[in-house]
């Protein structure tokens, strides 16, 4: 009895497998997607990257008629998820949301993965950092803060993410632009923007260089205030927060971005179709409304521009990280 069922199972499995072998290439090329697609997110459920990925997945699912399953592969400061995207089969059935960390981690020596390890599909979002301080603290505006840092290097402490994270490099870049060294404001590593904003309120640190939307809850609560953003223009959602350029005359801007990419070597037709679908998603009112509600910036770049964008970001990160003493070589 046992033998019989086992043999039956093996036979049917073999049949299914061979059928799959014959049928698969033909179908995969003609009518992608004909089965569910996995969208890997290197960060946890409920965070900003997760939410952005889920709204994109929901729109793709609606337009393409196949489920787009969001899978969170967290840990290792983003290495685990980024590696899962890069090492998946490049058949168009596993894609992922890559984030700014892909231009940073390899300089730190955490991984060999870099922007060129992927098939870029589209850039969808970018958020500039802000400079947040305690609401009832001594600093009234960004000028006063900048003067204090110049007069007392090493006195103030800043936080916003882990050591060598994007907000850390935002701080270093700003300090460098003012002609200061990276250690003029020592970095206190944290588990993300929310804990850093809490520590700001608790009096543990003096400034937080996360994005303004990430600090919004504490700002609304009257515990913190935003003195400036490191961007070319003001954020329409926070019109009272000036840019560094208009206050200090420093033309420095940097940002945390999110885009969609697949493993290297994806078929060109599938990649082109995905980019076109992502453009449709980007232009939809669902996406725009969602991003606006959370205060997230929307930026569009198709595959080739996204690749250039990442290459440029990678080069500027290399020099920023070297000057901060964060690059490994």
């Amino acid at each position: 009895m046992t033998d019989l069922t086992r043999r039956g199972f093996v036979a049917s499995a073999a049949a299914a497998a061979s059928a799959g072998l014959i049928a698969k290439p033909a179908i995969a090329q003609s009518a992608w997607p004909n089965r569910p697609v996995t969208l890997v997110v290197p960060w946890g459920a409920g965070g900003g990257t997760d939410a952005t990925a889920r709204i994109v997945a929901a729109i793709l699912e609606k337009n393409l008629g196949q489920p787009f399953n969001v899978v969170n592969r967290t840990g290792g400061s983003g290495v685990v998820g980024h590696s899962a995207i890069a090492t998946a089969a490049p058949d168009g059935y596993t894609i992922g949301m890559v984030t700014v960390e892909i231009t940073m981690m390899h300089h730190q020596g955490l991984t060999d993965l870099k922007p060129t390890s992927y098939t870029p599909l589209a850039l969808m979002n970018e958020d500039p950092p802000g400079v947040q301080v305690k609401a009832d603290g001594q600093f009234k505006d960004i000028k006063q803060l900048a003067e204090f840092i110049k007069a007392n290097p090493g006195k103030l402490k800043a936080s916003g993410t882990g050591q060598g994270g994007i907000w850390h490099l935002a701080l270093v870049g700003w300090l460098n632009a003012m002609g200061l060294k990276a250690d003029a404001v020592p970095w206190v590593p944290s588990n993300g923007a929310a804990p850093a904003m809490q520590d700001l309120a608790a009096g543990g640190i003096d400034l937080v260089t996360c994005s303004v939307p990430e600090g919004k809850a504490m700002i609304d609560a009257g515990k913190a205030k935003s003195l400036a953003i490191m961007a070319a223009q003001r954020n329409p959602l926070f019109p009272d927060v000036p840019t560094l350029n208009e206050t200090l005359g420093i033309n420095y801007s940097v940002g945390a971005w999110r885009g969609i990419a697949g493993p290297k070597g994806m078929p060109a037709d599938i990649a082109a179709k995905l980019t076109a679908e992502l453009k449709k998603a980007y232009d939809s009112s669902e996406f725009k409304d969602f991003m606006k509600a959370r205060g997230f910036g929307t930026v569009w770049a198709p595959a080739n521009e996204f690749a250039d964008f990442m290459a440029k970001g990678d080069a500027s990160m290399a020099s920023a990280m070297k000057s901060a003493g964060l690059a490994k070589s």
Partner: protein
């Protein structure tokens, strides 16, 4: 008043009530399955809530997590396998009670005090959210350092037989916790170029391994004894509850308050609340020698605490957008998605939604009584399944639960290694619970110490000069001196007793 009526109107809709009922059943299932945690229940609900209106989405999460934390007690009692990390602190104690034939009393206490503790947490959320949030927000890394140290001390406090072996197990947990990216400097440690090891060793697969897999291994030699089942039948679970309440109402209050406060502190949730309140209960008990032998006292504290922590964790999440635990870390994302941006203004902009959440919290806790009762009754049927059938099924759920943590087979490997190591340790008289505590609190201890030292430019003065930090430091010292004193006096007493 209008707002409350509007909120009631939002909740008492057929689809919302159905959501509460279905999510509750989902929560009971997830919580009772070893390896599927309340946090995972929330994460699994995120894609579903994406398509729901705000009240329905939040109702789903509130009901599922409320049920899951209680349901974790059921396998803890019956199989010595905690269903969620929040039940790990007293799984041993509960199992000892079951062995003594007190399964009914144990599960009844777990159910009733989970409901009561949960209601205390909700009451705090409703009436004291702003003031508790103000307290919680004042905790910086200096304060968390002392909290982590006090938490680790619990491992020794609750070590039943041999404090030294408990200490060694704790150090093992701390050592495993150092694998991965160093939380302060961002440098990889003990990763050998392996991508999976970069993410460290998650405590949940380890917990499943050392509790569940090791238990399966222990039972393996006698597995074909087909007549043998895991536990005896379950009668009326509500007998004797009134007695327990009369005797241990102080424990209930203490556990619930402690749980609420720990839940409200960002970064510590139901699992730590259970450990701490169980240890406090033993420390304050008139009969500490009964702890670990199947004694109900500590369970009253801990099972109240882990459910009250759930409501507590929503306090900083709603008021400041700061997660109180890993569940609310996900909830904050859902709140943003539903345009209910956390912050004090959420009470002004969308008060009807917040009141609706409060109402759902109360309903879910009350609903726990009948649903929990049914769950316990059906657990009894599961237990009458022969072991050689049940064991492989449990193992399967362990594998599924571990896989879900990392979405890869890496966690399954951790679970299996944890199982073998846990089995060897327990055969040699080492308790396994401290390993989990070391893993949970090790990173917090290291990170808070390192970041504090960076902030203070290497001075240790702020560890004691900040008011709350100073109080916590003094408390830690008192506990340690008390432990040392007891050890010395015990040693003096020993020769006399022998």
């Amino acid at each position: 008043m209008d707002v409350i009526l509007t909120a009631l109107g939002l909740v008492f809709q057929a689809d919302v009530l159905l959501t509460i009922l279905l999510s509750s059943m989902f929560g009971i299932f997830v919580g009772a399955m070893p390896g599927l945690t309340a946090t995972m229940a929330t994460a699994l609900l995120v894609p579903v809530t994406f398509f729901m209106p705000p009240v329905q989405a939040l109702s789903a999460i509130v009901s599922a997590t409320t049920m899951a934390i209680f349901a974790g007690d059921i396998p803890g009692t019956l199989l010595r396998i905690p269903g969620t990390p929040a039940s790990a602190a007293y799984a041993d104690e509960s199992y000892m009670m079951a062995k003594k034939g007190e399964t009914e009393l144990n599960l009844g206490v777990n159910l009733v005090f989970s409901v009561l503790g949960g209601l205390v947490g909700v009451a705090a959320l409703i009436f004291m959210a702003p003031s508790l949030a103000e307290l919680a927000i004042n905790f910086s890394s200096y304060e968390y350092f002392w909290l982590a140290l006090l938490g680790l001390t619990c491992a020794i406090l609750i070590a039943t037989e041999d404090a030294l072996k408990g200490f060694i197990a704790l150090l093992l947990g701390l050592a495993i916790g150092t694998i991965g990216i160093d939380p302060a400097a961002g440098v990889p440690r003990f990763t050998y170029g392996n991508v999976d090891l970069l993410s460290g060793v998650s405590f949940i697969p380890v917990m499943i391994g050392v509790f569940a897999v090791s238990e399966l291994l222990r039972n393996a030699p006698t597995i074909n004894n087909a007549a043998h089942t895991f536990a005896q039948s379950i009668g009326n679970i509500f007998t004797g509850i009134a007695d327990v309440f009369r005797r241990y109402w102080v424990n209930f209050l203490r556990g619930s308050i402690l749980g609420t406060v720990i839940g409200a502190l960002p970064g510590a949730g139901a699992d730590i609340a259970a450990w701490v309140s169980y240890a406090v209960s033993k420390r304050a008990s008139k009969e500490p020698e009964k702890f670990g032998t199947g004694h109900i006292e500590g369970i009253v504290d801990a099972t109240s605490a882990n459910n009250s922590a759930l409501g507590g964790a929503w306090i900083p999440a709603l008021v400041f957008g700061i997660p109180g635990d890993s569940i609310t870390a996900i909830v904050i994302g859902v709140l943003y998605m539903k345009n209910m941006n956390p912050g004090p203004s959420v009470f002004l902009q969308n008060p009807q939604f917040i009141y609706a959440v409060f109402i759902v919290f109360i309903i879910a806790n009350l609903l726990m009584l009948p649903i929990g009762w049914v769950a316990i009754k059906s657990a009894k049927r599961i237990l009458s399944v022969p072991r050689n059938v049940l064991s492989p099924i449990i193992l399967m759920f362990c594998i599924v639960g571990s896989f879900a943590i990392t979405n890869s087979d890496y966690a399954i490997l951790i679970m299996l290694i944890g199982g073998v190591v846990g089995w060897i340790l327990e055969e040699n008289g080492f308790p396994v619970a401290p390993i989990i505590l070391g893993l949970v609190l090790g990173e917090m201890l290291e990170q808070t110490f390192m970041t504090s030292m960076i902030k203070s430019d290497g001075s240790i003065l702020p560890f004691v000069s900040r008011p709350i930090a100073g109080i916590l430091a003094a408390l830690t010292l008192v506990v340690w001196v008390g432990m040392a004193w007891r050890m010395i006096t015990d040693r003096k007493a020993l020769p006399g007793a022998a």
